[in-house]
Symmetry: C2
Subunit: 334 residues, 2 copies
């Protein structure tokens, strides 16, 4: 039985979206057990699952504007903090939250704890490509600075994830850079390039450019947390901006445009959906003792369900322990 | 009379797009003179302007896949190289090219020459916002690494450009960062934040996130060349990906979708247009003795015309000399 601790109080639609996602997951997967942390009365309003689910009541929660490290220190009874402690104490195998990302990262580092061989855990998501296959990218912003060794570790963790959780044989690893030639980039990129090229266990395909990400140039993209964060937020901002503009064009046009927009309603919704990556789960804080997964603050029940499915696969394939073994061997070689 | 040297042989549609853009500009602006560098026979096929325009013939040109520095050293008679020398020798006041960006940067550094007080020239473009006003961002990739002093210089140059060329009073300067709080970012961001906040001549509005760029959070955004390059390429890739997907949705749908798409044809073309920033000109390599401007490789005549208009405004407002004065004073204060 896989035990998953769920912070029921984080995110824009808590606890409803969280609880409804759990209902669906409990029904679908007979090998999981869920512990919900949060306001018992509110949780019970939505909870229909009756087996393999329990509630640990607490009144305290971390808000989206709380200062992360201070919040997890002071709010010792917050739903997110209790869920993290459950993982630390072995009462749960993994945790999920839709709440304050910074506080979740801090809970991961300071409560769940990092794997000894990993210097700096990195945030990883599966992002959309036009062919629907997607790619895993890390670090998406857990760190403001990274070294070549960190990026090498991300490549190994990303490869394990892509292979074990997403079922991609010999995943292609790309290094995000400002050009595709080997000589490109700053010292961080140049040194990382050499480390990745020298690691024969990796299927390193060289430098890739941000322009080509949606075309699926690689299965795993490694970058430092500052750049990863900027790239992810640029994608979000550009996509959102284009959708706003599209909406304006459709509603601001004449009668012809209005009829056209009406006829296309479902297809345009489909467009938004193909680019919506909530379906592939949440962002994994990789490098911790156990899976700690962040689903988007605006997640609905379906996104929560998908994230539980993702966590279940991570536990089933034992991806964390496997990458730890690989990384420890790397450490010994040094 | 403002003299502009145009590399007629660079870009996907050379020399036609370049020459046709020049025809239009010569007709529109009576105070400019253009020198076209390239294949005289080919240029003459498209040249209709008869006054204030001359051709300097050369058979040599730099290709898009040439290694930049080597190309400008070996191809001494290339159209781009000759145009740069014309600026250096005072035969022209500014230059324009749609060719190899790296080679143009190298021509700028090594032939036109940088301004003494500027350590590292930066590439700047005006990028689109949803309200149509746009913002100037630099460095977009002239450098792989930058220091806080470079970023401070970019803020000053960007502010001068926004105020003088785009007519924005007290332009708001934002620092691209991984969060909006003052404490965010790596050491480069933290130190730059302090420099910008301490410079009372700047209207510094603090840190901005990549997610908010299209919403117009600032008039000038400063960042290092590596991040700027990644952000710009992510925007291009995301926008292009969404348009591909939109096209697929529209053509792949049923009869209803096809009729809808037909009715919306003009409006959707309008959407693409609002996001097309060729209208505001090209990318300026800022920090050189004279305006060196890169227009996109795929530029059409209209984009070339817009870039010439932009160069004319830069010369008219004397933006480079003005920012040099400001920067020299800054240097003296140290």
């Amino acid at each position: 039985m896989k035990k998953i601790a769920v912070d029921a109080m984080g995110g824009d639609h808590a606890p409803q979206a969280l609880v409804e996602g759990v209902n669906q997951a409990i029904q679908e997967f007979k090998d999981i057990e869920v512990i919900l942390y949060g306001d018992e009365t509110k949780i019970k309003q939505y909870l229909t699952a009756t087996e393999r689910v329990s509630i640990v009541h607490t009144d305290e929660k971390i808000n989206s504007d709380d200062e992360p490290t201070r919040a997890i220190r002071r709010k010792k009874q917050a739903s997110m903090v209790l869920a993290a402690h459950a993982v630390k104490n072995g009462e749960a195998d993994a945790m999920l939250s839709a709440g304050n990302t910074g506080a979740l990262l801090a809970s991961g580092y300071f409560i769940v704890g990092r794997i000894k061989v990993i210097d700096r855990p990195g945030l990883m998501s599966t992002l959309p490509t036009l062919d629907g296959k997607g790619y895993d990218m890390l670090d998406l912003g857990a760190n403001a600075e990274n070294t070549p060794t960190h990026l090498h570790q991300y490549a190994i963790m990303g490869a394990y994830y892509a292979e074990n959780v997403r079922g991609i044989k010999r995943p292609r690893i790309g290094l995000l850079n400002n050009g595709t030639e080997e000589s490109k980039g700053d010292p961080l990129r140049k040194e990382t390039y050499q480390l990745l090229a020298a690691d024969s266990a990796l299927n390193f395909v060289g430098n890739v450019e941000a322009r080509d990400l949606m075309d699926g140039v690689a299965d795993v993209i490694v970058t430092d947390g500052f750049t990863g964060n900027a790239v992810l937020k640029t994608m979000e901002g550009t996509a959102l901006g284009l959708f706003k503009q599209l909406k304006r064009v459709l509603s601001g046009g004449g009668l012809k445009a209005k009829i056209g927009a009406f006829l296309l309603k479902n297809d345009l919704r489909g467009l938004k959906k193909t680019l919506d990556y909530s379906d592939v789960g949440g962002a994994v804080l990789f490098g911790l003792q156990a899976p700690v997964v962040k689903t988007h603050g605006s997640s609905d029940a379906k996104a929560v369900y998908s994230t539980i499915r993702q966590i279940r696969t991570m536990l089933e394939t034992d991806v964390i322990r496997k990458s730890v073994v690989e990384l420890s061997e790397l450490e010994e070689e040094k």
